[in-house]
Symmetry: C2
Subunit: 408 residues, 2 copies
């Protein structure tokens, strides 16, 4: 068996991620900030909340006024007033007194806790009975208890979820510095590839990779820039790669990495300004003929032309690089632990990625390998995710616990 | 303890989802189809692939020509020609012959399999040695093997992932019928709530819910329509709800569901045309005072005003309704199984949602409850997900396996 090109392990390739730097930043309105990555630390300039608030509907009290109250021996409190939402209570609440308050209301002077309305009974307009005692601070958020002025609330490099956009709103931070979305060039190559609008003649197929890779780029939070199909000749590819270098922060060329035509992909990448070949193969399957080069600070990937292989290489290998230049701090990827439903043989010396469906039965998850030739697109449609068979393993046994990385 | 309103179980509320119908559809280009939900079955009108293709670089052969070949006893084949990518091979390959072929190339007449190039050695321009035999069909995808003409490839009601957009491309289906994105009205109420651009005076807070709920709506694949803050009076709320009914497919009102002000939320919902109250409380915590009404076919939700409660109610209760009107067929939600790191007490008769962080140690996941008062926004920032404590449970013990639903 011949070795056609020096292959790197996936670990070696992933360790190259530090060579690439995050793209620049931009200031945007929080209306559009969902899913974007912070390029500044978010530090409130005042306490949140700014005042002690009730977290329940009920009665604000001094906790000591409630001690000993129970269903069998209710406590008796007189009403000192009512807190109106959004108002500052103008009255004080003394021992043995209470003030009606709604969720979010400001605690009146003299109170430190709230009795939930469910544990009270109104006797008349001036008095209530309570059936439960409370501890100081109970059902109350004190001023600054949520976030203190000057404290880092959201770090740099964090992808904003709905709750973080709400926190920005709470701080009144209408504009936020985020990394701009990296522009990822997507180039298909191959004389057999035709635009999707055309009916492919015999021997030809439509350009799938522009859509799968473009979509994966978008799901990763970056913007695809699609250059269409480069004919299988060096000059055309060289020209398009030059254009992509000018416009993009990373470039994905699919189809030029098989033996033969891969030679001039390597040549084209090597002839880019200030270029260096970083990898000419990765010991994963599918995806071995993957190429990584750098021109200046811009990564150029040569991905397999086959749609399924290209998707799996994207998911396992390319994505961490896009996340890196997006400014995202590394975050754990949560796999779904599941039991493998059949034996899976594998060759040592490479990582095998196997497509699986997840089935749930009696509260347990099962990972069922998707049958069928690995080159079939339908295996990716049927699959929920991928499992990894380590390079030092000869395979996995039925019943083994695997971690399913969802593909989406 | 008083019961202020008739509460439904979450299961009862979720069973109401069938009362609501998917919104209409629209035809869009597959460039914009990622994440959208199919409103038609996708059925190719020709086989995929249209011809038998190689899935490897190597030599196309008739499998029987390779039988017996091994490292120690190589087979000898003469070269009948070379398949050019995208071309129809004009030659035939007889027994004892082979044709050079690249991944994706069309199999010449007379061949049924491909020997990988790694298992071959070129002797000269007219002959090769092979070190491995192949079975018929090996490293080949036969015409129609991926998808057959007329076979349903993607069902209705499926959210399109990158791989499905690629499949549409492969079929040449540039335009696809999808459900339009539902418009979800988002209304904040409360005299204590001010727009985020303002500095809140004493007793007041900024409008968080417009941003958290709007973002969750967007993550669910729908379009939020934000109406801002309705003052705490019946006429204003009634007016805004009327507007929202005209413009939206569902409406979320937050803040008007606590005792007192919740009364006129109920009144306003009840006075909408052709309205019916479906739920005036859900036995979940947080989130009990949640209201669901319907006006015509449009759901009106009254959510807690408190940002954390509103987010959790959205995630657990509202989201399935948005998915329903989005046309999405129910799909399993994969929780991350994890070990609980501490005892969690809970009251029977309601479902408790507890925020947790996920920690990974020695390949195992641990769910660590986020400490701090449940009303604190920072608990949602620190949390990776939610775990559910069943209504029939008095709590969970340290070490119990829980399923963490990621919040995002």
């Amino acid at each position: 068996m011949k070795d056609f090109f020096k292959v790197s392990t996936l670990k070696e390739v992933l360790s190259l991620v530090d060579r690439f730097q995050p793209v620049g930043m931009e200031k945007i309105h929080i209306d559009r900030a969902l899913g974007r990555i912070t390029a500044e630390k978010i530090v409130p300039d005042s306490d949140l909340p700014a005042f002690s608030r009730s977290t329940m509907d009920g009665y604000a009290v001094k906790a000591s006024s409630t001690y000993g109250a129970s269903e069998s021996s209710p406590g008796f409190l007189t009403l000192a007033g009512m807190v109106f939402m959004g108002d500052v209570p103008e009255f004080k609440v003394g021992p043995g007194q209470a003030a009606a308050i709604s969720t979010g209301g400001m605690l009146p002077d003299g109170t430190d806790s709230v009795v939930m309305i469910e544990y009270t009974e109104k006797i008349d307009d001036s008095a209530i009975e309570i059936y439960k005692s409370v501890a100081p601070g109970e059902h109350v958020i004190e001023a600054g208890e949520d976030f203190r002025s000057g404290q880092v609330a959201i770090d740099m490099g964090v992808r904003l979820r709905p709750q973080e956009t709400g926190l920005l709103a709470a701080f009144g931070k209408t504009m936020v510095n985020v990394y701009r979305k990296p522009k990822i060039g997507v180039i298909s190559t191959g004389d057999e590839v035709v635009p999707i609008e055309e009916t492919p003649g015999p021997g030809k197929i439509r350009d799938i990779n522009t859509y799968t890779l473009g979509s994966f780029v978008r799901e990763t939070g970056a913007d695809p820039v699609c250059f269409g199909i480069a004919p299988d000749d060096r000059a055309s590819l060289s020209h398009i790669c030059g254009e992509a270098l000018e416009q993009c922060d990373m470039v994905l060329v699919s189809g030029g990495s098989s033996v033969g035509i891969r030679d001039y992909t390597v040549e084209v990448f090597s002839s880019l300004p200030d270029s260096q070949m970083l990898t000419q193969g990765v010991s994963i399957r599918p995806g071995k003929p993957t190429i990584l080069a750098v021109s200046g600070g811009t990564a150029f990937w040569g991905l397999p032309g086959h749609a399924v292989s290209a998707m799996i290489v994207f998911h396992t290998t390319v994505k961490p690089f896009i996340e890196r230049i997006s400014g995202l701090k590394p975050v754990p990827k949560y796999g779904i632990p599941a039991e493998l439903t059949r034996n899976l043989p594998s060759a040592q010396g490479r990582i095998d990625y196997v497509r699986v469906r997840i089935n749930r039965k009696d509260g347990r998850y099962f990972a069922e390998p998707v049958l069928g030739k690995s080159g079939l697109l339908n295996t990716m449609i049927l699959a929920d995710g991928l499992i990894e068979i380590d390079r030092n393993s000869e395979g996995l046994e039925k019943g083994a616990t695997v971690s399913v990385l969802l593909i989406r």
